[in-house]
């Protein structure tokens, strides 16, 4: 007897368990099955800050959230519809992330007195009314898994470890996800270790069947595929997209990719991913510190490589002096800042977008450079290509801003045709018989890139002020003024060489513009959609180039009576826009190490409109 199936437009599922419970993998697999079904989706892993806090404590909880839908979605969801909690700590840590009336699927076996205590509960939450108002399903996941895997010939511990596959099976049933994607993957992953493979398959099927057959679950849900532009898709997270974007830039420019970095959360993933692709000729260097990483990259830039150094906030601080050197040397180089939360060490595993003004101004003297930012996980790919294009075309360091949220979360991505990607011309200098002038300039004020090994172009560069043209040391007052203004003009000039800022204003009559940058794109899109659904007319625009702003930015922001800038900081873009265009842009600021929720922003939009 088949059960009832309810149709839903969008669903948010959150898997939570101990660090050792394999929740990230469970989430990943669920995402793959969902992507293949053609739903639009957005995901967000939520790692514990500790390496491996004591098992069973809230500090050790690892979670993964996915929103999937039959139409366009842009965030992993403010609140979960379904929480799968593998132990009491997971329930404790994440209950407030479930919307009222939401579904809780709990691993009943784990709610022992000891575990309940470890989680910091004083009484058993299953009994004391804590869960009133939720739809609670208690499922003895561990014991069913152990039973299902009996006879396969693995130990109890191993068999218990398969309980995440049970959960995956159950939730797969609940939302009608295909089983073959998961089974194929298990085959690939464990095919060579028969018992483990068998146990995982058995657990997965047990979960699926548990949903199908027990009385517990009265119904399952269906979320239709979202309409998608034809093409081949994959799911991609921001860290991978950024790494691949750099590789693509290397391929499209013919410049070898050279990545020097010092590990730091959340930028380490870039180093890890790039170090796997040595067959693309990618050099990765783990330097002794961030200063060394920046200088090693700069040395490579001088030598004609596509030089990149990646880090997070604390590393940007440390690289500042070297970035300034790259500014005066006018060499192409990309500095990736995967922003994280807080000043100082702060909250290293949480997200924020508070390094914008640091990127703009975080070097002594006048040392302007272009800033590019990514707004979604997949957009990291194009942002990396764009940063490379600007760096190489203008012979300048470029800061590329991402953040923890973008780096860790994922979304479906129509895989681009390689040939359609922009190609980048290194345009190395070659001798032309005349005296070589390393600080002569082309029509866009870029200087020649003459790399060691080239006969006839021998020259020396350095951090002392350069003489216009010759590049010799100069202490001349007028020359310093000239060079300062040339460096500024070169960067400012890029404004004409980037796409205009696009405004989305369907009715053409909005009086409020919501202007954003970076990872708040998803929230802004969702919040504005809600506001519009509520009958409000609101315009949006999203900046991908933070320095210089696209040429039409002033026009755009001046066209609206009100401008609202939501940021996960204290109003950094707002400060730049206000100073530049003298418009009274208001800042909506959230600094919690978390993305802004669409709901919150919707309220703010309404408030501002009703003001």
């Amino acid at each position: 007897m088949s059960k009832a199936v309810r149709e839903r437009e969008r669903i948010v599922v959150r898997f939570a368990g101990d660090s050792g419970d394999g929740m990230q993998l469970t989430g990943d697999r669920f995402t793959s099955a969902t992507a293949v079904l053609g739903n639009d989706l957005a995901t967000l892993p939520d790692f514990p800050a500790e390496i491996r806090a004591p098992a069973g404590t809230v500090h050790g909880v690892s979670a993964f959230q996915i929103q999937f839908a039959s139409n366009d979605i842009t965030t992993p969801g403010d609140h979960a519809d379904v929480l799968v909690a593998m132990n009491p700590a997971a329930l404790k840590a994440d209950l407030d992330k479930v919307g009222k009336g939401g579904v809780l699927i709990l691993n009943e076996d784990s709610f022992t007195e000891r575990n309940v205590q470890k989680a910091g509960y004083t009484a058993d939450p299953l009994e004391d009314g804590t869960l009133d108002g939720y739809q609670v399903y208690k499922v003895p996941m561990t014991s069913i898994t152990v039973r299902a895997t009996e006879g396969i010939g693995i130990g109890k511990k191993e068999s218990e470890r398969a309980k995440n596959m049970f959960a995956l099976g159950l939730v797969s049933w609940m939302f009608g996800r295909p089983t073959d994607t998961t089974l194929n993957w298990l085959e690939k992953k464990f095919g060579s270790r028969q018992e483990i493979f068998d146990a995982n398959v058995a657990a997965f099927k047990a979960g699926y069947n548990f949903g199908e057959t027990t009385e517990l679950f009265a119904e399952s849900y269906k979320v239709e595929a979202a309409p998608q532009v034809p093409g081949t898709y994959r799911n991609i997270d921001g860290a991978t997209a950024l790494a691949w974007g750099l590789i693509a830039a290397s391929e499209r420019s013919g410049l070898p990719l050279f990545y020097a970095s010092y590990p730091i959360t959340p930028a380490s993933e870039l180093l890890h991913e790039l170090s796997r692709h040595k067959n693309f000729g990618v050099v990765t260097i783990q330097a002794e510190d961030e200063i060394a990483a920046a200088n090693i990259a700069l040395g490579a830039a001088f030598s004609g490589q596509l030089a990149v150094t990646g880090t997070s906030g604390p590393g940007i601080d440390l690289k500042a002096e070297t970035i300034g050197l790259a500014v005066i040397m006018e060499l192409p180089m990309i500095i990736v800042d995967v922003q994280r939360a807080g000043p100082s060490t702060g909250m290293p595993t949480k997200t924020e977008q508070a390094d914008l003004l640091l990127a703009m101004y975080g070097r002594h003297g006048e040392s302007p450079l272009p800033i590019v930012s990514a707004s979604t996980p997949a957009e990291c790919f194009t942002a990396a290509l764009e940063a490379a294009r600007i760096a190489v075309r203008y012979r300048t360091p470029v800061i590329l801003l991402s953040d923890t949220f973008i780096a860790n979360s994922s979304e479906p991505w129509p895989i681009p045709d390689v040939e359609s990607l922009p190609s980048i011309d290194p345009g190395f200098a070659s001798p032309n018989g005349q005296d070589f002038l390393p600080y002569s300039r082309d029509e866009r004020l870029a200087r020649p890139w003459a790399i060691p090994g080239t006969p006839g172009l021998v020259h020396r560069i350095g951090g002392l002020e350069r003489q216009d043209g010759t590049g010799n040391i100069s202490y001349d007052a007028a020359n310093h003024e000239l060079m300062t203004r040339l460096r500024q003009a070169k960067v400012d000039g890029i404004a004409d060489d980037v796409p205009a800022l696009e405004v989305e204003d369907p009715g053409g009559e909005a009086e409020l513009l919501v202007l954003g940058w970076g990872s708040s794109l998803g929230t802004i899109t969702a919040a504005v959609a809600r506001a519009r659904a509520g009958g409000r007319s609101v315009a949006t625009a999203h900046l991908r180039h933070l320095n210089p702003f696209p040429a039409n930015t002033g026009e755009v922001v001046r066209a609206y009576r009100k401008v609202l800038i939501p940021e996960m900081n204290m109003g950094q873009l707002a400060a730049l826009i206000r100073a530049r265009y003298l418009v009274d842009a208001a800042s909506y600021s959230k600094v919690q190490g978390l993305p802004i929720f669409a709901e919150e922003l919707e309220h703010e939009i309404t408030r501002v409109l009703d003001e």
Partner: protein
């Protein structure tokens, strides 16, 4: 990408005959008259042609300090970086372009104070760069503060009551961090300096050369015991691999004392078998003991090559990994990369 050079070191090229002029830029040196840097510059410019590597295949990298200006006076490619970071810049160049001959010029402040970390990591990695550390035991460019090699009690602008820091022994420091080539020479002994440069250039990997350099403005005479012709011949302990270590016109020697300890003794009172035979290619402990014979240049001190061993060269090892990966996995294909793992198609 650059071709992989099998052997690091700076192998002679087949360039047309080069002269000192080919390595002399049109920029007029601007050190104080009498500065030891002039002698070093002249020696280096005169030596470079011998390598047979054309100027455009040579890169000089320096940091900030009087020594840092060196780069501008060499008619090669050059990077004058910020304070202390030259070994890192040079690492980038040497890894990216292993076919180049890469030289670092640094000072005792630049290389051992602010730049200490990059120096020690370059040495342990064995990057193919030749590091010339101009040790004048003072901060010259900033007009005379003490440096990490200044002797204890040094009175300078920043230490009017005398410094209280114990100095580094740069040779011992280099040996302690696994350097593969460690040598010392003096600015005004053109012949010795050139010989050490030659050995450094031949070495595959990082060469560390400490050059005692006289700063006649802020620390004049610091090395007189070794630099001065008359005094030098009594106090320079010239190291030659495989030779017993005797000096002071044969009057004194280095001998093996109790527990294997090295000590200076009159040759006449020493059993010839007890004289230490210099072994530059052995374990660093022997060289380390030689580095500690004297407290500093105000006592008889060793010059020459202390230590010289072979070890894989960092940049080459990286290039080898790239090649091996290409051979094993085939050259990278962007299309396949983008399609790896689960994908789905919407018609």
């Amino acid at each position: 990408m650059s071709d992989v050079i099998e052997n690091g070191g700076t192998a002679p090229g087949d360039a047309p005959t080069l002269t000192k002029k080919d390595f002399t830029s049109d920029q007029e040196p601007r050190w104080c008259p009498g500065c030891g840097d002039y002698a070093i510059l002249s020696a280096v410019q005169a030596f470079m042609p011998e390598l047979g590597i054309e100027p455009h295949k040579t890169v000089f990298v320096s940091g900030i300090g009087c020594s840092g200006r060196f780069t501008y006076y060499m008619d090669t490619y050059g990077m004058h970086g910020i304070h202390g970071r030259a070994p890192a810049l040079a690492t980038g160049i040497a890894v990216a372009a292993p076919e180049l001959s890469v030289w670092v010029v640094t000072g005792d402040g630049d290389g051992l104070s602010i730049g200490g970390n990059h120096l020690i990591h370059a040495l342990r990695r064995n990057v193919d760069i030749k590091i010339l550390l101009f040790n004048n035991q003072i901060y010259g460019l900033t007009k005379g503060q003490y440096s990490p090699t200044s002797e204890e009690g040094k009175v300078t602008k920043s230490t009017p009551f005398g410094s209280v820091d114990h100095p580094f022994n740069p040779i011992a420091l280099a040996l302690g961090v696994e350097a593969t080539f460690v040598a010392r020479t003096v600015d005004n002994d053109r012949q010795h300096l050139t010989e050490v440069l030659r050995r450094a250039a031949q070495h595959k990997g990082t060469a560390f050369v400490e050059i005692y350099q006289n700063c006649n403005v802020f620390n004049d005479g610091a090395f007189d015991l070794l630099r001065d012709k008359a005094q030098g011949k009594h106090n320079q302990i010239r190291l030659e691999h495989g030779e017993p270590i005797v000096f002071d016109e044969g009057n004194r020697c280095v001998r093996i004392g109790e527990n294997g300890r090295y000590e200076i003794a009159p040759t006449a009172e020493t059993d010839p078998d007890g004289i230490v035979v210099h072994d530059a290619h052995g374990r660093p402990s022997l060289a380390f003991a030689l580095a500690h014979l004297s407290r500093g240049p105000d006592e008889p001190s060793c010059i020459g090559v202390f230590h010289e061993v072979e070890r894989p060269v960092y940049g080459q090892a990286i290039q080898h990994q790239l090649q091996a990966a290409k051979e094993r996995l085939g050259p990278g294909d962007l299309r396949s990369l983008l399609h790896v793992g689960d994908t789905w198609t919407v018609e």
